[in-house]
Every structure is written in C-alpha cells, then in structure tokens.
C-alpha cells in the first residue's frame, strides 16, 4: 500500500480535527498559542475554529486543518493473529489430545481494579457478542476469582489449581495502573515458577497495546473487542507449541 494522508473531502487534503485545553486565559495570544501547537503537530494552516474560556485560567480550542505528515501503512507493526481460530469443538478435541486432561484457567481482576465485566465476558458461560465464554468449553476448567485480587493471592490460587493459564484483566489505566499491575503480576509468576512450568500469562483490557506482551512479561495481550474464541484458540495454540 502506498503512502496515505488523512481524507477530509478530497483525496490528499490531509484534513484533521483536534481539540485541547491550554492552561491560559482566553485572548488573541491564546488563540495564537493554539495555532502554534497545531502547527507543531504538523497542521498548516491551522484554523482555530472555536475558543471557549473555561474560567480565568483555561481555554478550550477546536482546530481544523491539513496535516503534512504522510502515513506509511507498510511500516505498521500489528499483532496479527498468528494462530487459527478454532470452534469450541475443535478446542475441546485438541485440548483432550494434547493434555489428556482438562486445561485449567484461572482468571481475575488484580490490584484494586473491580471491573469484572470484561473478564466475565471472556470466562462466563454467558460470554460476549453472542459467543459463549470459556466456561462453556467442556475441556476447560475455569476458576474465576473475581475482582480486586492481590497478586500473591492470584499466584497462590494458580499453584493450588495447577493452572495452565492465568487470565488477568485490567481496565483502570489512570497513571498507568494497568501496566504497573501487570508487571507486578508477571514478575511474581516468574519468581514463583521455573520457566518451563509457569502458566501461560494473558492480560486483557480495553486500553492495552497488544504489542507490549514482551515488555510486560506476559505471553499475550488482548485489547478491545476480544471474544472468548480468540482466547481459547490462542490457548490451544500455545499449549500445543509447549507440548511439542
């Protein structure tokens, strides 16, 4: 694919919309400062179409204009699914033939995060987007620890349940809470298990960057829009690789 520019209403026009607040009172200078920022972002000419004073110390801006940057899709690195999507039946069959027992999955929201809807969407029978969750898979044993589980507790349960995989959800991202908690979690597992016996570590949540798995010390990161079958298929794929 060739180089692209954003599209407003004509090919190549490069048009974008931006909004932000500057911590200064509204004035012509403030509008100029907004234009300056937009220009530093590559927008030229920057059209400051809206400036709204918010009290004496802040001004909100909306800016339109063409951005000069080119986008090169060929340089984009994405975590594409590098394993086949399986049906529930296939998952069950392959778990059975690989492990000769049920695969144990332990799930939790760790830290102070109490958003369980996301992990429940993956784990509960009810599932997500019309797809059944992992509990529905005969050959998977799911232990859902719920919310606000501490990392030591999680490790303890993983040991106790002989978990093959540990699924962790993190929804709160303010001050990078999700990254801090995930790193703490993966470090604890590295400490508690020899590399070969460490459960597969999966982390998920709406604001994760899927390319950060290595950096976070986990086997896979799942973001927005994940469905249970994505996860089940990945688990099979990873266990077959380990077994072979």
């Amino acid at each position: 694919m060739s180089l692209l520019r954003p599209y407003g209403d004509t090919t190549g026009d490069g048009m974008v919309q931006v909004s932000f607040t500057l911590p200064m009172a509204h004035s012509k200078v403030a509008e100029g400062a907004a234009a300056q920022l937009a220009e530093k972002m590559g927008i030229q000419p920057a059209l400051v179409v809206h400036a709204k004073p918010m009290g004496p110390d802040f001004t909100f801006f909306v800016v339109y204009g063409p951005v000069r940057h080119l986008v090169d899709p060929s340089l984009v690195e994405v975590v594409e699914r590098d394993y086949p999507l399986l049906t529930a039946k296939e998952v069950n069959a392959r778990v059975k033939s690989t492990l000769r027992r049920r695969l144990v999955v332990v799930g939790a929201c760790i830290g102070t995060d109490a958003h369980t809807v996301g992990i429940d969407a993956i784990l509960n029978i009810k599932g997500f987007a019309g797809e059944k969750g992992l509990e529905y898979y005969r050959e998977l044993k799911v232990v859902n620890l719920g919310a606000q589980v501490s990392v030591p507790d999680l490790v303890g349960h993983a040991i106790e349940e002989k978990a093959d995989a540990v699924l962790v959800s993190q929804v709160v991202t303010q001050r990078d809470a999700h990254l801090l908690n995930t790193r703490e979690m993966s470090a604890a597992f590295r400490e508690a298990f020899p590399p070969a016996r460490r459960p597969v570590l999966i982390v998920g949540g709406p604001r994760f960057d899927e390319s950060m798995a290595a950096e976070l010390g986990v086997d896979r990161v799942f973001a927005r829009g994940t469905t249970p079958v994505d996860v089940a298929s990945f688990l099979v794929h990873r266990l077959e690789k380990r077994a072979s």
């Binding site: 407003g8 209403d9 809206h50 909306v62 339109y64």
Partner: protein, 521 residues
Amino acid sequence: MTGKLDLDPVLVRRARVLARQVGRPIVKLARQHTTVSVERATLRLAGLSGADPDGTPWVNRLADAVRADVGLEHGLALPVWDALVRGEGEDLLVLAQKAAAGSVRFRLPDGRDATRAQAAARRQVGAGIRRIDAQRKARERLIRTMGDAPSQPWIYLIVATGDIYEDIPQAQAAARAGADVIAVIRSTGQSLLDYVPEGATREGFAGTYATQENFRLMRAALDETSRELGRYVRLTNYASGLCMPEIAALAGLERLDMMLNDSMYGILFRDINPIRTFVDQRFSRQVHARAGIVINTGEDNYLTTADAVEAAHTVTTSQLLNEFFAKEAGLADWQLGLGHAFEIDPDVPSSLRLELAHALLARELFPKAPLKWMPPTKHMTGDVFRGYLLDGFFNLVGALTGQGILLVGMMTEAVVTPWLSDRDLALQNVRYVLHAAGDLQADFRPLPGSFIPARAQQVLGESIDLLERILEHDRGLLDAIADGTFGLMRRPPDGGRGLDGVFRKAPAYVNPATDLLEGTA
C-alpha cells in the same frame, strides 16, 4: 398525525384563500411573459445540447442569434423550426453552429410556414417530453423492482466537493451509510450564470456545477449503488438561478428525483429579477410536475437572515404561496417538499418547544406534503460537539413531528463543507435518534391549550395578517418583496439580474413545450 394543534379549519381555509388571491396576479404575469431560459429550455427539450469551443452552449448561441434577428417575444420555436423547415440546417446542432457563425438569418414565419414550423417544433419538443415521461416510468419501475427508501423521513445528505469525481464516491458512501436522498450542491456563482455549463466538471467552489453530464454520471453511479443496496437512492439538484427552466428540463431528462425550486429564493438571495424568477419558476415547475420530481422550497433560507421566532410567520406565508404556485403549475401534494428549518437561537428560552410548535404547524397545515426539514446552520459554531448535539435535537423534532425529508445537519456547518466523516457521524446521529424515539410521536400529544398549540395558532394568525397586508399593496406580492417582507431582503420588481432576458409575449407567441406541459396542445 393531524389534530395535535387544534387548528381552526376556518382559519386554515382562509389562509389558503388569501394565498390564492396573492398568487393569482403573479401567475397572470408569468403567463404573459417568457424568458431566454424558458426558450433555451425548449431547445434542450428538443434535443439540442453541447457547447462551442469556448464553452458557450449551443442553445445560447442559437437563442442569441434568433434574438438578434427577430427578438424573443414570439418565442424561439417559430423562427428556429422555420429555419429548419427552410433547410437552413439539417438539425438543431448544425443550425446553431451556422447561427453562431452568422451564416443564417431568422425570420418570424406566418401562415402556412408558421403552422409547419410549429408542427415540426412540437414533434421535436414532444420527443423530449416523452423522454421525460420515460424517465419517470423508469424511476417508478426501479422503485418497484429494487425497493424504496425504507421509512420516513427520507434521509437527505449533501455532497459538495466541487469535483464530480470526488462527489461520486462520497455520494455512494453516504448512500451505503443510509442516505435516501443525495443532493449535489452547486458551485457558488452558478446561479448567476446565464448558461448551463457543459460536461463533467471538477472545479466548483463549495459545490459542483449542475451540468447534464454531471447529472448523468451521478444518477448512473447512484443507480449502481441503489442496486447494490436494494433501495432506490434519490438524487437532487437545484432548479434555481438564471437557468432554472433549463436545469429543470435537464433534471427531467436525466431522471433526477427532487429539485430545489422555490418561488422567491432567487429573487431574495441571488438578486435575480422578480419577474424573471416567477416566469422561470412556473415553467420549471411544469416540467417537474411532468417528470414526477419532488420540489424542495427554500423557506429555511429566510431564517438565516431573519430571526426564526420573529419571522416564523413569513415561513408559513411563503409555504402557502409556494403551495399555491406549485399546484397551479400542476404539481401534486406528494411533490411539495415545502421547506422549513430548525434555526431558533439556542439561547432563546424554550427553543425546543417553539421548534416543536413551528414544525407541527407546518405538518398540520400541509398534511399530505412531504415537508423538507432543514438543520440548524446559523447558530452552529466551531464547537463541533455542541453542533452534533444541536443536530440531534433537530433530528428529534423531525421524528416527533413527522417530517418527510430530513436534511441531515453537519457538525462542521460553521467550519467547512462537509467531510466524508461528518456525513457518517451525522447519519449515525439520525439513526440513533429515529431508532431511539421509535414511535414516541404516538405518545407525544401536547396538552390542548398548552404552549405548543398556542404558539402554532399564533404563527398561523400572524401569517394570515401578513397575507392580508400583502393584498393591500398596489402591486401585491411584488411590492411586498420590494419591502423586505421575506428574509429582510428588499427586491424591487424592476431590479435584479436577468430582467433583460424577460419578454412580454407577443400575440403570436408559440412554445410547444408549454403547450404540451399545460396539456393545451
């Protein structure tokens, strides 16, 4: 639908009687005159198209030559077909070329010559009318076979890139995203051109030139998309400006489905001469009537220059006049997309209640007309979030008051001509509101005597007063227009552009198009 406002049927009748009284002298005036554009439209119906190397259409070259030789008060048909019958050219195109080269002289035939010329003209113009009829049938067949817009209101979206080849994919994208009607906005300035540009064009400003070829290209593209979507997507353009009649004819020939066409817009907003406008308007509406085209009137525009609350009754008055003129020209109720708009200043208290009152009034005064409901424009700002919200409430009022054609508002109204994404977001807005409201219209019945019906009755009353005042003028509507009654614009009957293209018909005036359209042929 009707009956939420308890409008007094006696007053409603009175309003219509007054509109007729105001309109009748204008119709008379229109019948007494012809214009260069009416005459050129006749040539277009007869099949003359194309332009000289400078881009001047052959219909203009031919009309100008005839005008130079014999004037236009007898119409073009007699002198032109007389020349053809005389063998001055093997067809219209050759004749026009020779006329342009100055190698043919025109005369006004009489007696047998006149009869022969007239018959030849009627044959050829009749073929154009038949093509319009065929297009109307084609539309009906396409709607029958591939399906119509799924529900009311029809979702109406504009494209305005200036380049027909950018417009096309954008229009198709909009249709896929849910548009039922696509309007191709015209380049600024086209309305003041006294000719219709030719060919596919790519250089409009804030709109794309209305040309026969652009019409054809867009209609073909939408036919393709309609097939893909399994519903007929309508196409709209503007029959307005100095070439209103010609564009109406091209719209009929190329199967456009709706046309912006107002009885006073050109006068008020383009400073086109009032008489020129009324004559052109009557002819163009006759064409639309024949072509099965829905017209959209322009009352919404008044509220961009006048205040939407103070001037609410001028909208109603204009709707009544547009209705009268439209019916006189042969349009049926279902073809009357009477305009109005959500333009009340959001800072006015209870703006939503006022809008509901105005929108319901239009709905109940014209129960069978589709009504074109226009979004906020004047009070839109660069705050696109606020704009998106205002458009949502506009959509809600549309849903609650049963509007027929919902012109989708754009959050970037005050910023740019709409982007692809603006349209997509705007359609999402419409879909959400219509879907969420469902049939809330059925539950929503303002308490009798409450604010909403009271306001509607007040506006109707003011509109009746205004019609009465218009009648008191010596020259009725013409004087009222000169006074700034509509949109605060003052336009005297002898001012404005295009007056030199107006001719009082001579007794021997012949126009086979008018004859055929009026069924007098």
